[in-house]
Symmetry: C2
Subunit: 161 residues, 2 copies
């Protein structure tokens, strides 16, 4: 929560390239390598950095179909539904949300046939609404200081701030 300017710069760098050496990070933020290592360790311990991951493009490994499946789960079935999606290897994200469609799944799969099977499985727990993803204009935007303290005047209405 109380991150200083250097913490934010480190987060910027590591969200852009999670394999940057801590020496290199240190060079860019004008700190020694051990200092960076220690800051990163503390950011992880405080739960700010939750991990470092390689990101894989599903389309590049034979998963061209991406869809958002909204499921109106009957409340009694919620625990079983939770178990179900946890076991679904094609479910990349599953969010429990407010509103009529209690659950939102992001699913990737090899074909429409497979998507059909997945949606049919989900139907066991409630009504579904499925949308195919054309494209993603934004995916996993890094969290920056701007996200936390957005500046005013960024919108088209007030360009001449």
């Amino acid at each position: 929560m109380d991150l200083d300017e250097i913490d934010w710069r480190i987060l910027d760098l590591l969200q852009a390239d999670g394999r940057l050496s801590f020496s290199e990070v240190g060079r860019r933020v004008a700190l020694s390598a051990p200092a960076v290592t220690e800051r990163v360790r503390r950011l992880e311990q405080r739960g700010v950095i939750t991990g470092f991951r390689a990101t894989v493009d599903p389309r590049a490994v034979g998963l061209p179909v991406e869809a958002i499946v909204r499921v109106r789960v009957r409340s009694l079935d919620t625990p079983r539904f939770r178990q179900h999606v946890l076991a679904l290897p094609q479910a990349m994200d599953a969010d429990h949300v407010t509103g009529e469609d209690c659950w939102l799944l992001r699913v990737v799969c090899a074909s429409m046939l497979e998507l059909e099977a997945i949606v049919e499985q989900a139907q066991r727990f409630g009504d579904t609404t499925t949308s195919l993803v054309f494209s993603s204009a934004v995916r996993g935007r890094p969290v920056t200081r701007e996200t936390v303290e957005p500046v005013q005047g960024t919108n088209s209405r007030s360009t001449a701030s």
Copy 2:
């Protein structure tokens, strides 16, 4: 696409911990460090690995509100809407999808007040439906061989396969 067993094991390891040294990966898959480096380089070149990133928990940096905003963008406004969401630091994901709600935004922000402002901005482009995220049962599940070739008999209907 044509990934062998070792490629999959490397992807498993690096999706779990993107900062593992390639020597360590090599130890675990019984390959020399240069061989791992070369495989990772090719996986990146083929677009399988799209990058390595640190993941940041928005809640840990003062962004406790997460919401999915569906926007029914009027088709003529789509290009401007695209520009708008690209400029929104709170939009973590933005997907163009089929169906009535042409766009799905995943938004994080500091307060309900801020969410209200963002939704009001989105309203300029079309009607919106907003759902608050209670929790995420799955977030960024790794892509595995199972995702590409799901085994049959995983579902509750056919446990005794």
